[in-house]
Subunit: 333 residues, 2 copies
């Protein structure tokens, strides 16, 4: 086929067919998708979780990953955040005219590899072409199935609970921003599917109250939302927040706060205090969880302080934190 | 909130929250979505169908509909084409900076109305903002459940079967093209959810072999694909193809072929010959099916002619038809 995408590839006719055979069919090869029906038929025998996410990151390829890996990880991690095991994905591609076909091939390959790593099947897809500058957007929607461990939801945090995070913060944000600003460093995106961490926790006897992946808006935004959902107060300690030396330097240089930096392979886990040590050990032994840390705890709120988030500074001060204001970093995911 | 969308509305922080409350929350109001979790939990007790579609139509508002109505109809009709009853939708919005908020509100309202008409619940959503010219793209993914009538698939056509189409062809294509070319006429898009037609057929004792909605690529592309999938030959009669006088005039003026014009509310139905009259009556009595017609039949293919599509002209000639070549009309859906 041609070397760049043209409007004809969005026609629904022969050129679209060629695009699908040349780029998508082999990479996403599976019995359900190969039928090329209008909708995929899959087994569904218990309560299901559904989610969707559009990915508009720029650049579409960056150190440590690309938009293909990112879109699978994002959707898989959203399902895992409900305690559901991801199983089926759909993907909708919006391609800008002029997109290089070799680049699209790399991205689709990366997507297929990540889907295999995350143990999900891509069962339906769609392709559209629009005018533009040769970029692309990908939407993924996912279906997962709940396990016997039941559903996990945002409001589950209870006073006394321990708050853990699965690893160092800010890599994805620093990677994208550094790339855009032409800052040389060796920071790589953390984009990763977190199946192993979550499935290991759910299989164990740890009493998991909340799971939530940390993406746009960063750790503080996620914790504040979870505090509000539960009506309790969250207290985290600055010194316990895992940040790599490289990201710490990067933040220092640019005046950024790791609490508000975006991630694409990190999850917050809130467990019963008694299970804290066991949860930490499980997370550390799971893939992508080696830098997991206990970062704080949940308290009953004082009157009129429901849903507060405080960070304790290294000298013992308390900072009342809110969700991200303004735009953060646009098009990070 | 502001009158136009800015990059801050894609931050995942406060501005995104405002956008969601001001625009989406009220329109899509339901218990599942209101929880604002990373993934929606829904009931799933039998085999499910999944599909996805991105919508990039321009203009985003046109006579008879808009991208909001279109995206619900497209996804619902894809599920119905498998014989599955649509139940849950997810939606991913990619908004271009500068989009007018009042326009977004109209579109979201139209989407909510169409979802109610099609009896589907929007259970998960996502919003991103990109640079651009104030337009928007919407991706919808859908889950439907199969009925006791079983699954309907593309390869089901058998020699002898009758081919029906649910109504007049080309309205959506003519609407979009006419609007872009500033041609004044009273053609309106046919964008519609086809639940009533399909559910009525599936509830009846008509032996339905194939259902397929007719979108990009037009009737000929769909029939050729279905002929190939079944390995049989399809023969349709030009004189039986329903086309409104307005669309016929429009096509005559511009040299367009209604066989290749896009639709967004039409479905092909292939049934056992004996059930032809009953199927036609059911379709005619269903919402959006009043102009349904029997347009042709399925034959066993001669050797080396498997998957052929012929149209019989009014003077008895036979035209061997292929799927759409080239680009048709870009960004029609």
């Amino acid at each position: 086929m041609e070397k760049v995408i043209t409007m004809a590839h969005g026609s629904g006719g022969r050129a679209t067919g060629e695009l699908i055979s040349a780029i998508f069919a082999e990479e996403f090869n599976n019995d359900v998708l190969n039928k090329m029906e209008d909708a995929a038929a899959v087994d569904g025998s218990r309560r299901i979780a559904m989610t969707t996410d559009s990915f508009v990151v720029t650049p579409v390829e960056y150190p440590g990953g690309d938009i293909g890996r990112l879109c699978v990880c994002g959707t898989v991690n959203d399902l895992l955040s409900r305690g559901a095991i991801p199983q089926y994905l759909t993907c909708g591609f919006i391609l800008e005219e002029g997109l290089e076909v070799v680049k699209l091939k790399r991205i689709v390959h990366s997507m297929a590899e990540t889907a295999r790593e995350a143990n999900v099947t891509i069962v339906a897809g769609d392709t559209k072409v629009v005018e533009g500058k040769g970029g692309l957007y990908i939407n993924t929607a996912g279906v997962g199935f709940f396990t016997d461990a039941g559903e996990v939801s945002a409001e589950g945090a209870k006073p006394g609970d321990s708050i853990l995070v699965s690893g160092t913060l800010g890599e994805h944000h620093a990677t994208i921003l550094g790339h855009r600003m032409n800052i040389e460093n060796d920071i790589k995106s953390d984009n990763a599917p977190l199946n192993d961490i979550v499935e290991s926790l759910l299989k164990s006897d740890v009493e998991v109250h909340v799971l939530r992946d940390v993406t746009r808006g960063g750790l503080a935004t996620v914790l504040k939302e979870l505090a509000k959902a539960s009506g309790n107060t969250f207290v985290v300690e600055d010194e316990k927040i895992p940040v790599s030396p490289q990201v710490r330097d990067f933040c220092g240089l640019l005046g950024l706060d790791p609490y508000y930096m975006g991630n694409e392979g990190k999850i917050v886990c809130i467990v019963k205090k008694e299970d804290e040590a066991k949860a930490l050990e499980i997370m550390k032994n799971a893939k992508y969880g080696e830098d997991a840390s206990v970062i704080g705890h949940v308290e009953a709120s004082k009157p009129n302080e429901e849903g507060s988030l405080y960070s304790m500074t290294s000298i013992g001060g308390m900072r009342n934190m809110d969700i991200l204001q303004g735009e953060g970093l646009p098009r990070i995911c």
